[in-house]
Symmetry: C2
Subunit: 227 residues, 2 copies
DNA sequence: GTCTATAGTGGGATAGAC
DNA sequence: GTCTATCCCACTATAGAC
């Protein structure tokens, strides 16, 4: 759910115009939803011509980037607070996943409207797309910090893969969140609250011989699929 | 990826018109892909007016139903062959999941184009939507047969939930498949080939105390989320 | 390089006559 | 149930002002 920022604008004036357009888009998206916000209305709200809006943004969906960027920046900031004091793995993971749900809550209603754009495999907005690589790496880095500075003792092979696996878990939570119609996304919070101890338990039991076989299989699986 | 058929038409004439439109849509979707097929072209190909096409189908995405129905019927038929002779759990599961990949292979390229419509939470095409309930149940029933007539010995609680969990696994495979750009969906087949023994191993190890704790947590999780 | 104004195309969706 | 006519809007094109 995160992507690359647009290339830096040349002049400060251009930067201001660009900001005006993204701001207008964010306001209108929240006011009327994605589908009912027209490019004309965005241009009007920003006080620029329609053509100018298209000069800065290739299309309507490019404006979704602004939302992604905002969420990602807030998530990274929130991560600081969470990861600074806590050393136990479970609370660290719960803090990071929960922070995302908190941050994204205001956008839940209209996020579903443009989720389909990100879902299209060929879309640059897909979290798996090359365009999203930098933001994806940044997000994975947060999960790497969750693992590395925690009290978890793991086999090196698993320790290497775990951050990416946790990011995949995060994507799963996002998917669930999009479909979650419960008030305040209660069910997503419950999912997080229950999934974290489960992951913690699984991760800690990897030293047992029985479990280790399963874990090795899983690592082989993800390794094979990455090729 | 499956949904409910449209309500039965009244007259035979209407039924014929409807068929003509769905046929035209299927032909053009495969020829040019979903996005490049216009409703006008579909109406032309079917020999009806644009307005008439909309009289029968609420929108372009409603025509995707025809594709879903086709795949589901083929999958159910293929399941017969797979489940008839085999009694071991792993080959049964592998057979069912593999059959879906085989059947869907011809549609892979253009399936990605309209996947986004199914991904939208409010869409009736979503596999989790109420509209999809009958087809979803039919699909889960296939996985129930995979479990019930197999050699698996399981705790009753798990045995009750496993079919739905396997259907979720199936949805995961579908999701992976949509994003899989490898030739012949090689990676999806590899995912299936490696995930099945893993699931088999996990299911069979549920008698061990360590694993049982994890399984109980998982069952509690899905139970809590269903509410 | 930044921006406006205007005109136009294409295609999804609808209204209303028959 | 079927058509024709129309609307709406994303998006493009262009010509030119600063």
């Amino acid at each position: 759910m995160t992507t690359v920022p647009e290339p830096a604008a040349r002049s400060p004036k251009a930067e201001q115009t660009r900001r005006g357009i993204t701001n207008a888009a964010m306001v209108l998206f929240r006011e009327r939803g994605y589908d009912k916000t027209t490019m004309r209305a965005i241009a009007d709200e920003a006080g620029v011509s329609l053509g100018n809006a298209y000069y800065y943004f290739g299309g309507k969906e490019h404006l979704i980037q602004a939302f992604y960027d905002q969420v990602q920046v807030e998530h990274a900031a929130a991560a600081e607070g969470v990861l600074a004091g806590e050393k136990s793995f479970a609370p660290r993971l719960h803090g990071l996943l929960g922070a995302w749900v908190d941050i994204s809550a205001p956008y839940h209603e209209f996020a579903g409207q443009f989720f389909k754009n990100a879902a299209e495999p060929t879309s640059p907005l897909s979290p798996f797309s090359p365009d999203s690589a930098p933001a994806r790496e940044a997000s994975i880095a947060l999960f790497r910090r969750v693992v590395e500075d925690s009290d978890l003792k793991l086999a090196p092979a698993l320790r290497r893969e775990l951050p990416e696996l946790l990011w995949l878990l995060h994507m799963g939570v996002v998917l669930f969140w999009v479909y979650d119609a419960s008030p305040g996304q209660r069910r997503t919070r419950e999912l997080v609250a229950r999934a974290v101890p489960l992951v913690d338990r699984l991760a800690r039991s990897t030293r047992l011989p029985v479990v280790r076989g399963v874990v090795d299989d899983m690592l082989e699986l993800v390794g094979a699929l990455r090729t």
